[in-house]
């Protein structure tokens, strides 16, 4: 049996199950049966995918002709011919019609078969051509599969997903029922896989070096997301141990869940609003089950990710409405599009950005595409007529952007009035405080916004100049950093001076060690992944506001991360004892025989 392998604890809990390994670039082809009346639409969808693939190749041909000349581009000529070959195109269409299966499955079968036959050719040169067939196969399949690179939707039974990394596109169409846990090589505590795992309430361990080399699909893997370790091919003893840890963890969760309907109020009566961050409509149920008072952040990117077309105003309205109706009388804060411009679809392919983090995304893209922006704003406005909704703009870096965005919102309101559609005239409009510049001028922005929400994930990265996904510098990403505390305080004070409420939707709001500091500084609202709510509520209910203020004052006087952490621990751990799952410190204690030795830790 292999021993425990260390990684970074990303989502608490324990799981044992079959591993499902996803290699970079693997495409999982879904197999779907069609109704007779869906066949022609599917054929047309196939034709459209071929068309897009042709356009892609054409663009590539042009580019390569420039850089490498005619010779280099010629191979793409062959790819184009493959895309027009009746043996491929007509055969696929016939296959769809005859077998009533989806284009992807039929196409994959045909192309896969040809590729395999060719790859066995005795002749070296010919065998190489199987790579061309593979290239074309993938290009078209990616166009056909709504999830882009892969679909985790059609797994037959629950698995532990193991990958080099997991992008938002891949997880956007996940079937939550089928995932027992996540294990990735890349990423840190706030990487997408981690956030995803926490919102699904499954364990996750990230930053597990070379795990994809140590695991095969089908092998058994045990995951401890609380202390950040995994075991490949655990033996009976280990499995029993994990099952018992699972039971202990479940008991802990049950205890915390008893708090569900109790208010988040300090011992001396100060109430704090606790709400939830969700990434897609299914998250509302989870949020409510964990006692969230509203949705503090609805990320709307799921509407755009991995979909072939931009979401219409109607589709957005219908999604938003369902969520608002479920959450009422509490409110839903909807954040406008917060992705890179390359996800918008209508935009012609932009050159690869050297630094997408500092690049063209979020509000910048929205302002550059007012029609698309309007669609989203109108959908949100329409929803506001039926229940409590708030709007929030991401990545605001200055007053100009805010005013421009508000201007487009006004235009949206005017167009709705012209169409005779009702909306909330006083729709509250807030901004994400996630860029240090915005914090530095928080007072100016607070005058023009209805509320502020601090996005600590990005704020910390920009402020401390750290890429949280970079394993070498991830240690610098710290929430309990004097500079971060000062910025948070600056924002809270500025907001309050203008009579506006200030919340936090970054992961720092879910850090139990930060809670007393944040409450003590006067934060009005904390929004986080649903399953982390009970613990934070417990912290709030265990202290007085006076103590929290003392804690905050003390923390602000510290010069180092260590100093702040020491203060936080002193005040908080007294309240909670061992319930504080200080993710990363390791709550589980393994029997000596199973602990990784120091040398092995170095090898890992």
């Amino acid at each position: 049996m292999d021993r425990m392998i260390s990684g970074i604890a990303a989502s608490p809990g324990f799981a044992v199950g079959e591993a499902h390994l996803l290699h970079r670039g693997e495409i999982l082809v879904e197999e779907r049966k069609l109704e007779p009346d869906e066949v022609e639409a599917e054929v047309r969808r196939f034709e459209s995918a071929l068309e897009k693939a042709r356009e892609e190749i054409e663009a590539l041909q042009e580019k390569i002709t420039h850089t490498m000349g005619e010779e280099g581009a010629r191979i793409f000529g062959v790819h184009q011919m493959i895309l027009q070959d009746p043996m491929v195109v007509e055969a696929t269409k016939e296959g769809i019609r005859q077998s009533l299966r989806n284009a992807g499955a039929v196409f994959d079968e045909i192309m896969g078969g040809m590729r395999d036959t060719l790859s066995e050719a005795a002749d070296e040169y010919l065998a190489q051509r199987s790579l061309d067939i593979e290239d074309v196969r993938r290009r078209v399949l990616i166009r056909l599969a709504p999830g882009g690179r892969l679909l985790l939707r059609d797994l037959r039974r629950p698995v532990v997903v193991v990958a080099e990394e997991l992008t938002p596109s891949e997880t956007a169409h996940l079937d939550p029922e089928k995932v027992l846990a996540f294990v990735t090589e890349a990423g840190g505590r706030t990487s997408h896989a981690a956030i995803m795992a926490r919102s699904l309430g499954v364990p996750a361990v990230v930053g597990v070096s070379r795990i994809t080399e140590r695991v095969r699909t089908g092998s058994l893997i045990a995951v401890d997301g609380t202390s950040g370790q995994v075991a490949v091919n655990p033996d009976e003893y280990m499995i029993k141990f994990f099952e018992s840890q699972k039971a202990v963890f479940a008991e802990l969760e049950r205890e915390l869940l008893k708090l569900k309907n109790l208010p988040a109020v300090t011992l001396d009566g100060r109430e704090v609003e606790l709400s939830a961050n969700i990434e897609f409509p299914e998250g509302v149920e989870s949020a409510l089950s964990y006692g969230a008072r509203g949705i503090g952040l609805l990320r709307t990117e799921y509407l755009y990710l991995g979909c072939e077309e931009l979401p219409s105003e109607d589709k957005q309205y219908s999604d938003y409405l369902k969520m608002v109706e479920q959450v009422a009388p509490d409110s839903v804060i909807i954040r406008t599009f917060d992705l890179g411009g390359d996800k918008v679809g209508v935009v012609p392919a932009t050159p690869l950005e050297r630094n997408p983090f500092l690049g063209w995304r979020a509000i910048r893209v929205s302002l550059a595409h007012p029609k698309v922006f309007m669609n989203q704003l109108r959908a949100i406005l329409r929803t506001s007529a039926h229940g409590p909704v708030k709007l929030i703009f991401p990545m605001i870096s200055g007053l100009e952007e805010l005013m421009q965005a508000k201007e487009i919102l006004n235009q949206a309101k005017e167009s709705m009035s012209r169409d005779g559609m009702p909306f909330d005239e006083d729709l509250p409009v807030g901004i994400m405080m996630e860029i240090p510049a915005a914090c530095a001028m928080a007072d100016i922005l607070a005058a023009e916004a209805d509320f502020l929400s601090i996005g600590t994930n990005d704020l910390i990265q920009y402020s401390l100049a750290v890429d949280r996904g970079n394993a070498q510098v991830a240690y610098l990403y710290q929430e309990l950093h004097p500079a971060i505390l000062r910025q948070v305080k600056m924002v809270i004070d500025a907001g309050h001076r203008h009579g506006k409420w200030v919340g936090m939707c970054g992961e720092m709001s879910a850090n139990p060690l930060a809670t007393m500091i944040l409450i003590g500084m006067g934060l009005d609202e904390l929004s986080m992944s649903p399953e982390l709510l009970p613990e934070i509520k417990k912290v709030i209910r265990s202290c007085t506001h006076a103590e929290a203020k003392a804690c905050a004052d003390d923390a602000l006087n510290q010069n180092t991360v260590e100093g702040v952490t020491g203060v936080a621990r002193r005040y908080t751990e007294g309240k909670l004892g061992e319930l504080v799952t200080d993710v990363g410190e390791g709550a589980a204690v393994y029997p000596p025989i199973l602990q990784t030795t120091e040398e092995e830790k170095e090898d890992a």
Partner: protein, 88 residues
């Protein structure tokens, strides 16, 4: 309908780029084009088909054309295959 058996002269056989040329040429004609090797028969207008044929240098294939311009097509394709066409 015309059938002719020829020997592949191209040094690389009927592989991707020459295959592409073959298929593009065949596509110019209205007639049906088939190519056989041993007991495999493929459409001469299908790049995949021709590649599948794996016709190396020195192998014998039978070209079959049928239709309005089948004679012309056969002549052009024969010339193509039996000359050393644009070896890499």
């Amino acid at each position: 309908m015309i059938r002719r058996t020829v020997t592949i002269k191209n040094t690389l056989g009927l592989h991707a780029r020459p295959a592409a040329l073959f298929v593009q040429t065949a596509a110019r004609f209205k007639c049906d084009v088939f190519v056989e090797r041993d007991d495999i028969r493929v459409s001469g207008k299908s790049i995949m088909g021709i590649m599948m044929l794996a016709a190396e240098h020195g192998s014998r294939i039978t070209i079959e054309t049928e239709g309005k311009d089948d004679q012309e097509c056969m002549d052009v394709l024969t010339a193509l295959v039996t000359s050393d066409f644009e070896a890499d």
